[in-house]
Symmetry: C2
Subunit: 364 residues, 2 copies
C-alpha cells in the first residue's frame, strides 16, 4: 500500500480515508492561507467558525437532518453521553426503557441506573445467548410514563446491528450509532436522539456528535453541571467552551469525502458488498465461524472464532505478520474481530480473506 | 515567516511550535513505520500506549512531579473540571474557599456553587477594581473544615498572574493553570491539584491535564456519573474510555520540545525576556496602556487599551492588515490583548511592538 500503510482492522480509533489524511497533512503548516494550522486557530475566529459551520451543514446534508434537530459536538465520547442522556431526559416520574444487546448497551444501562434507579426497565435482552442476536422488539411492554427507549444500534464488541428499529409505541427513541455512524442512510425523524463517538467510523477520538430533537432540550435541575446540559451546548452552537476543534475539522473532511462518494446510499452499497466478501468466506470456511445470527450481523464489526483459543491467538500473530493489524477480539469476549468501517477498502477485506484462507489451508 | 505563517496572538487555541507541526505533518501518513496515522491507532495498541506513556513521563520530568501525584488526561476542558473538582473533593460538611480574580475564577465559582451551595466562600476578590490585581492572600480567614482553596493562577482574559501563592493555612490548594501551563517551573508539592485545558500553552483543544495528589482521589457517591470521577480515570491510566489520543500525541511532542529547549527554567527566562519587550513598550507609550498593576502582570496574556473603543478597533484592523492575528480583547472586557504563550517567538513580539509604535506615530 501507498506510504507503506497497512490494512488496519481496529474497532476504534480506526482506519481513515487516505485522501483525507493527505489533505490534512498538506494543510498542516498553513490552512488555506490563514497563516496558521487549524490546531492554532481561535475557536472564535471567522476561519474556524466557517470550518465548524461547513462540517455541520455537510453532516445535515448527508443524513438529511430535519430543521427541528440540533447537531451538537460534545467532548467526552459516548461514555459522557451515557450519563447526559438520562440526566437530560428524565422527567420526575418518568421511566427509561433499555434494550440490552451487548457490552455497550450494558454500559449505558449501568450509567442510566444512577439516574433512574428502579425506574430503569430492561425490556428485552439477548444476554441469554451471549448477545448473539437482536431480540424481537415489535411488541414490547412499554409503560406510558416512559421518557425514552434506548438501543445501541450497532454493538462494536458483539458485532450485532439493528436492521429493524424497535416499536417504541410512540415513545422517544435514543440510539447509540457510534460504530455505524454514516455507514448507511437513516431516517432521523424516527429518533429523538442519535449520537455516537466519532472515533470509529468518522474521525479521531475526542468527541461525540449528538443529533437531538429540539423539544428534548429542556430546563434542568439548576444543580446539573453546566457541561452536562444539552441546552448549554445547543445555545452556544457547541462553543460554550473550546470544543475539540481539530476533531470537528477532520470530521468535516470525512463528511465531504462521503458526499463526493455519492452519500450514504452509495456508502451502504459499498459496505454491503464489502461485508459480503467476509461473511461469504466465514459461511464457507470449515475453520472460522461467525458468532452472530445471520439476520443481525453487523456490516461494520465482524467477530469470528476458530473455537480454539490458542489457534485464535495464532491467527492474530499470523495476520499481523502478513501486515493486517488489530484482528484480536475484544478482551471481554476473546476470539477474533475484523472491523471494516467505511474507510476500509474492499481490497483490504479481500486481502484479509486470502490470508485467512491460506492460514486455514495450512492448518487442516 | 516560513510557510507564509503569521504571528498569531490568540488567547487559545493558540500558536504552536513550528518544528512540532512539521514533525506531525511528516508522521501523518505513517507514524514511524506503524503503517498508520496516530488518529487511526487503537488506544489499546502498544504503539499508542507508548506515545501516552512517553507523554506522561516527559511531563513528569518537566514539572518534576512527585510519585504520589497522578497525571490524568480528561476530555471536556477546564469547564468540566470546574464541576469535577467540587464533586470529587467535597466532604459532607466541608467548605470550598475560592479567590475571585477574573472571568475564569468566576466561572469556576459558579460551578462549585452548584455543589457547595452556601458552603462556598469567596475569601478574597479583586472585583472592586475590575480584576486588575491579585488580592493579598497572606492571611485569609480559612475555616478548619475547608476542603480546598481554589485559585486561577493566570487569568487569561484579565491578564493577571499569581506570583506568590495564597497562604491556605495548611489546606489543599487547587490551581487552574490553563493559560500558564509549563510557562515557568512550579513546585507541584505546594498543590493538591494543578489542572488546565491544554489548548492555550501546550497543544490543540479537547483535553485537560489534571495533576492530582493521590489521597484526593476518593470514593464518591455511587450516583456520580462515571466520567466525572477522578478514580475512573486514575484507575484506568486515563483510558477508561477512548481518550483524545491525538491531543495526547501532540502534547507529548510539545513536552519533548520544551525538554530540548532546556526545561521550564529556560522557558521562564525566555518568557520574562519576551514579555519585557511588550511591557517596556506599554510603559513608555503615550497611546497604549496596560490594564493590570505591575506586580501582577501576566507573562502570557497582556491586555491593553488606548482608552478609546473606536481607536482600539482601528488597532485590531491595522495590526491584522500588517499580518498580526487576534489582537482583539475578549468581548467581555473589550480593548486589546496580546497572548504571548511559550510558542510565540520574541521576534513576533518585537515585530508587533514595531507595528504598534508605527500606529502610535501615525495617530499623534
Amino acid at each position: 500500500m501507498k506510504y507503506g500503510r497497512t490494512y488496519n482492522f481496529s474497532a476504534g480509533p480506526a482506519t481513515m480515508p487516505e485522501p483525507v489524511l493527505e489533505e490534512i497533512r498538506d494543510e498542516m503548516m498553513n490552512y488555506r492561507g490563514s497563516g496558521m494550522c487549524v490546531m492554532e486557530m481561535s475557536h472564535r475566529s471567522k476561519v474556524f467558525q466557517q470550518i465548524a459551520d461547513e462540517a455541520e451543514a455537510d453532516l445535515r446534508e448527508l443524513m438529511n437532518i430535519p430543521d427541528n434537530y440540533k447537531v451538537l459536538f460534545i467532548q467526552g465520547g459516548a461514555t459522557l453521553q451515557f450519563s447526559m442522556i438520562p440526566m437530560n431526559l428524565k422527567t420526575p416520574n418518568g421511566k427509561a426503557v433499555y434494550i440490552e444487546t451487548g457490552a455497550w448497551s450494558k454500559k449505558a444501562i449501568a450509567e442510566a441506573k444512577r439516574v433512574y434507579g428502579d425506574n430503569l426497565i430492561v425490556a428485552a435482552s439477548s444476554k441469554d445467548k451471549n448477545y448473539t442476536y437482536i431480540p424481537d422488539c415489535s411488541d414490547l411492554d412499554i409503560p406510558d410514563e416512559t421518557d425514552y427507549v434506548y438501543i445501541c444500534e450497532n454493538e462494536t464488541i458483539h458485532g450485532l446491528t439493528w436492521n429493524k428499529l424497535p416499536n417504541t409505541k410512540g415513545h422517544v427513541l435514543v440510539s447509540d450509532q457510534s460504530s455505524m455512524f454514516l455507514s448507511r442512510p437513516c431516517n432521523v425523524s424516527d429518533y429523538g436522539i442519535i449520537y455516537g463517538g466519532v472515533q470509529k467510523n468518522i474521525g479521531p477520538a475526542g468527541m461525540a456528535i449528538v443529533i437531538i430533537r429540539e423539544d428534548l432540550i429542556k430546563d434542568l435541575d439548576p444543580n446539573t453541571p453546566i457541561y452536562m446540559r444539552y441546552d448549554t451546548h445547543a445555545n452556544a452552537g457547541s462553543m460554550y467552551n473550546t470544543p475539540n476543534c481539530w476533531c470537528i475539522y477532520v470530521c468535516g473532511k470525512v463528511f465531504k469525502y462521503l458526499k463526493n462518494l455519492g452519500g450514504l446510499g452509495e456508502m451502504e452499497k459499498i459496505n454491503i458488498d464489502k461485508a459480503k466478501v467476509f461473511y461469504d468466506f466465514l459461511d464457507s470456511s470449515k475453520l472460522f465461524k461467525g458468532t452472530v445470527v445471520a439476520k443481525d450481523r453487523s456490516l461494520m464489526n465482524i467477530p469470528f472464532v476458530t473455537g480454539d483459543k490458542d489457534l485464535d491467538a495464532e491467527v492474530v500473530a499470523y495476520t499481523k505478520a502478513a501486515g493486517f493489524e488489530n484482528l484480536k477480539g475484544h478482551k471481554s469476549v476473546g476470539g477474533l474481530r475484523a472491523s471494516i468501517y467505511n474507510a476500509m477498502p474492499k481490497e483490504g477485506v479481500e486481502a484479509l480473506v486470502e490470508c485467512l484462507k491460506k492460514f486455514e489451508a495450512e492448518h487442516k
